[in-house]
Amino acid sequence: MGITFITTVKTLVRQRDTLLWAIAFPLVLCTLIYAMLGNLDEAYALKPVEIVVVDDAAYQATTGLPEMITALSKDTVAEGDTAIFDTTYVDSDEAARQALTDGDYTGFITVDATGQPAFHVDARYASSTTGTNASIVKIVLDQYWQTASLVGAMAQTDPSLFTDPALLERLTTEVSYTQRVSVTANPPSDSLAYMYSALAFSVIMMMSFALAAVEDIQANTSALGARRSLAGQSKARTLAPAIAASWVVGFGVQLVGYSYVKFAFGTSFGGKDPAVLLTLAVGVLAMTFTGAFVGSLPISSGAKSGITATLSCFLSLFAGLYGPFAQDLAESAAENAPLFALANPARQVTQAFHALYYYDGYQQFFQAILALLGLAAVFFVLSTLMLRRKRYASL
């Protein structure tokens, strides 16, 4: 068995093109993701909303609106405060509409003869899914208008209230009642999710080693398999070391990928490296048995390679690899089809990494590990059923 193990390792390592792609693919994908999405968190960071203000007589005649916009705008914000707007001033409604056509503004603000502000939003930013920026502009204007209306109503009820300028000042000065706190072990990051998904993708690809190893021991799939089946060695004593060798090579490849993303890109796993290695080991184990099962299917080698590649792509969709839409889809699928999510190794590997990064405890992490072990057990049984007592070209 030892010799079979060593020979299988050598055979797999000598399949240069398979090995090269198994190593190169995750490295290239992670590099691409790092290059593409490394600055995603920056993109989601707060940037002033670009707006146009029609600075006409009606706007200037309002009480407090020009001052409020100035205080919230990029170039005029008080030191230490956060700028909410990047404001461009124009002198007419037409000029504002033209600015929307020429530039990339969320919308423009006008004030009517009664002093009520109105928001004119660019259609691109008007839907609830694309319009957080527009909603920020709207809530700021709403808040201004609510304060103005409230003060107006109070003045009507009791005009004496406003003889005291200090009270008026106190009433209209906004107070901040919110304070940010963090609940996760590490700061939330969106780009990390893609890096984890890419690693999960490469774990799925480790199926290919077991697939090749199993094809090499079956009498009807390769010449080598035909020769080996003549040897005085039981199927179990041939299969077990072949599977073990596939796992060793797969795990080795994952170590290369993991080291690359950790050291070259500084990807964080919450500082829990032994647990990351355990995830990779168990993930590769699950995929090794899945690969053995696919390898045992009575279909052509080309179709098996296709299944491996497509499974990697398909399962990664539900691990959120293909961008923000896929991330949403993955979460919604996990909510509506929890069993599918549980049986998706790409999702479970991603979840294990997530758990290590975000949670203090290990409960979620071990849930993912257990799911992967369960998957490994299922495919171990399936591949054993497919491979044992198999008869070739017989009656």
Binding site: D17, M36, A118, S128, S176, T178, T184, G323, S332
Partner: protein
């Protein structure tokens, strides 16, 4: 046309790959779009992020705040424990959580009455800073309205102050939606799907074309073919025709997918048929690129498994670099953008963005010209590699004879 028919038979025999790459990956795009909920933009809809309130105060004020936030967001029930909070933040299911500490209502009233420092609610925001900013504004708008009522008339009972604040926060400014040329968001899905096509077309056509050419160029088969009465040039032409037929099939299949309502293609076809037409042409031109790459890969003599690997790397790599998954080229860094210029998918994506933004047709055709040049250049490299390979000993070329002559 025996070679043509044989090549078609080979393609048909590769049905699992057709099913998995062309149909499967094409349907992935449909699947993603079916799950995107884009509301109409004829009326303004405020962002309604998922928001959870952890109320540890249970005062009239905290309940009033909870009710108000529910009108400006999508309320989510969340258990008050660390794991639930971490879960909601990490999985981005609840990008904004408000924790109202015990005693907040009393502290709030005391602060308004005697000018003590204002108490705060704790807010948890994940990486979506815009959502955090927006919901902070919403939370502060309500609490400031309550503060104003209580400041003006300190004797007002809290319940009365809350109802006045609620009435005040009902006041909203009017919103007009301005339609800018090229910004028809109702067609957004269609443009996304046209860009997405690059992924299944690249992966699928690379694998299938590569396989057809590999089979015909493979050592023994090639030698047997060369011995046949069919001239090599005619045979290559017939195989090429079969590959072009495959390209047309894949392209046509993508066009059929655009008619599925989830992709929004039908809306674009009915609303702006000319734009749909030129996007379809752009997709067809783009499909020539994987045809050329598949040809090139086959010329290198790579094995099927490795060809699958290359197809995956190239298709995913091109898709990521060209921003078709992100659907926003502005999210890419400068260096990546420079690298992306060297990929044909980037120019295809640019062409679709040009149509979407209503850019001049010359810009659109310019981008398509670049895509076509990529296809021609890659094909030329393929021819060169093939030429060099036929001279190797493996292929029975001149190098076989060389040692004997020596």
């Amino acid at each position: 046309m025996p070679a043509f028919r044989t090549a078609l038979r080979l393609i048909v025999r590769q049905w699992p790959n057709v099913l998995l790459y062309v149909i499967g990956l094409g349907m992935l795009g449909v699947f993603i779009l079916a799950n995107i909920n884009l509301t109409s933009v004829e009326t303004f809809s405020e962002a309604k992020p998922n928001v959870a309130v952890i109320d540890r105060d249970h005062s009239a004020l905290s309940e009033g705040l909870t009710d108000y936030l529910a009108t400006r967001s999508t309320p989510v029930a969340l258990e008050d424990n660390t794991v639930a909070l971490q879960d909601a933040t990490a999985k981005n299911t609840t990008p904004y959580i408000v924790i109202v500490p015990a005693g907040f209502g009393d502290a709030f009233q005391a602060a308004v009455a005697d000018g003590a420092p204002a108490p705060t609610v704790e807010t948890v925001v994940n990486y979506l800073a815009f959502t955090g900013q927006y919901m902070d504004q919403v939370t502060n708008a309500y609490l400031n309205a309550v503060r104003m009522v209580l400041s003006a008339e300190p004797d007002t009972p809290l319940a009365e102050a809350l109802s006045q604040a609620a009435a005040a926060t009902d006041q909203q400014v009017p919103v007009e939606v301005v339609e800018v040329e090229g910004a028809k968001s109702i067609y957004y899905k269609a443009y996304f799907f046209f860009r997405w096509m690059a992924y299944p077309l690249t992966a699928g056509l690379m694998v299938l074309v590569g396989m057809v050419f590999s089979t015909f160029m493979g050592g023994e088969v090639r030698r047997r073919n060369l011995a046949s009465p069919l001239a090599p040039g005619r045979m290559s032409t017939q195989v090429a025709f079969a590959c072009v037929a495959l390209v047309l099939f894949a392209w046509l299949f993508m066009m059929v997918l655009t008619l599925i309502p989830a992709t929004g293609g039908l809306d674009l076809l009915q609303g702006q048929p000319a734009r749909f037409g030129i996007l379809a042409v752009a997709a067809l031109i783009y499909a020539l690129v994987p045809l050329a790459i598949g040809f090139l890969v086959a010329q290198t003599g790579m094995r099927a498994a490795a060809q699958n690997g290359v197809a995956n790397i190239v298709s995913l790599g091109f898709a990521f670099l060209s921003g078709i998954f992100m659907d926003d080229l502005s999210l890419m860094g400068d260096t990546v953008l420079k690298v992306a210029h060297a990929t044909p998918t980037f120019w295809f994506a640019k062409a679709t963005f040009a149509v979407q933004d209503g850019d001049p047709m010359s810009t659109f055709w310019g981008y398509n010209g670049i895509v076509l040049l990529f296809a021609v250049a890659i094909f030329a490299v393929g021819l060169l590699v093939g030429r060099l390979r036929t001279q190797t000993a493996d292929a029975g070329g001149n190098l076989v004879a060389a040692p004997a002559a020596a």
